[in-house]
Symmetry: C2
Amino acid sequence: MSLTYVSIGQETLNPHNLPRPLILETHVKESPLLSSDDDDDDGSDVTLHCTSWRFAVESNNLSPWRTIPQECQDYVKDYMNNKGYKNDLERVAKEALVFASSVELKGDGMDAWVFDVDETLLSNLPYYAHHGYGLEVYDSEAFDKWVDKGIAQAIESSLKLYEEVVKFGFKVFLLTGRTEMRRNVTVENLTKSGFHGWDYLILRGVEDHKKTATQFKSEKRHKIMEEGYRIHGNSGDQWSDLLGSSMSARSFKLPNPMYYIA
Amino acid sequence: MSLTYVSIGQETLNPHNLPRPLILETHVKESPLLSSDDDDDDGSDVTLHCTSWRFAVESNNLSPWRTIPQECQDYVKDYMNNKGYKNDLERVAKEALVFASSVELKGDGMDAWVFDVDETLLSNLPYYAHHGYGLEVYDSEAFDKWVDKGIAQAIESSLKLYEEVVKFGFKVFLLTGRTEMRRNVTVENLTKSGFHGWDYLILRGVEDHKKTATQFKSEKRHKIMEEGYRIHGNSGDQWSDLLGSSMSARSFKLPNPMYYIA
């Protein structure tokens, strides 16, 4: 199995259509780098192959991708709905908590923690369950309709971490790719699902619509740091939440094998 | 299961004892973030738990660690000796190759690729197989004796990638935490195992011994960039090979669940 990358033009951007991957990934058979003894196609090999793919996602080795590999749909569905996802979420929350509790806050109110929102604090799993767990190409209008319902539930382990981070006295910045148009529904959804006491909720303004998430979030972190805040921790499910410039001291990558945001 | 972190003092540094993690990880039962239904201790739960741990390693979520979790020794042994490791190595080499072939080289000889050496180009698996696959605390003298034999074999998928990268015309920098004392044996081992045609082999000088790998490698990349090189790709099995400052355009994280270098 090898991957062929087909460049496709950047779509016209509007508030309903935020930057998404510009590369389409298709799967074709055989690669010079895969030896022939990997070609037997039983279930355990699919699991091994899809685990390998998921590792590549989580270690940021992949080019931007638009949909999950077709042969991995059952694997992703199983992972998301069973202990795999839950365990990984709990593990990263635990590591973040150990780190957060080790930080000596200066007491000047300038020690900060950044959280992303979607698939970090709030789960859109019910939406993705109805859209092939990432097998369908992202449909911004359908997704926005889901967001507007304001019924996304808290990721439990993230909520516990969040509450501790607030309690420790960190200034909490929520930094999301959602647009300002969705500020109210986002605040309502967060509050209803148990998130209270954040300090700033930063959404994409009109001027940010053409920026990649990496660029937008790096710029916002830069501003936060310019104001004198020390960003100790940053929790996000996308590498574009964590990398770029003005990075936090420690980053916590939550699992997400369903979609990729550049 | 939860983790307790016990700080231990930094060891006296000498050429035989390069910077290693300063944190000892011990494992004790029960965490507030793990719910009770994860407590059944059958084989599949150990696999799930150790897979989750391995994901945390590969997504850079962990604090520095000194040894692998004891309960994961069989898991790591199995992963390293079977298709899991091989598949993951091939996947990352493939992704790197796709990227390398997409770079339009300027023809001025300033397009560069950086490779780490140990567990990136050369495999020390026979050494670690005799030392519990990472369960034993790192023993610098024993490891140096192994290195001095000069018999580490090429990681096949990395060699294929390396050869292509050389063929494409990238300037190839080998950037390793090995010390200058081991330049000769490193050159011999690399050559004997099939690596030819690199441009620079950068090892730790005396002035670098007290630096973390992240610091040492960032400084060296900074120098490379100051000289006008454009670092497109960077392949390494440690996050300290890839992160820090003066980062490459794309990073390729090779799997390594056996040890951690800060």
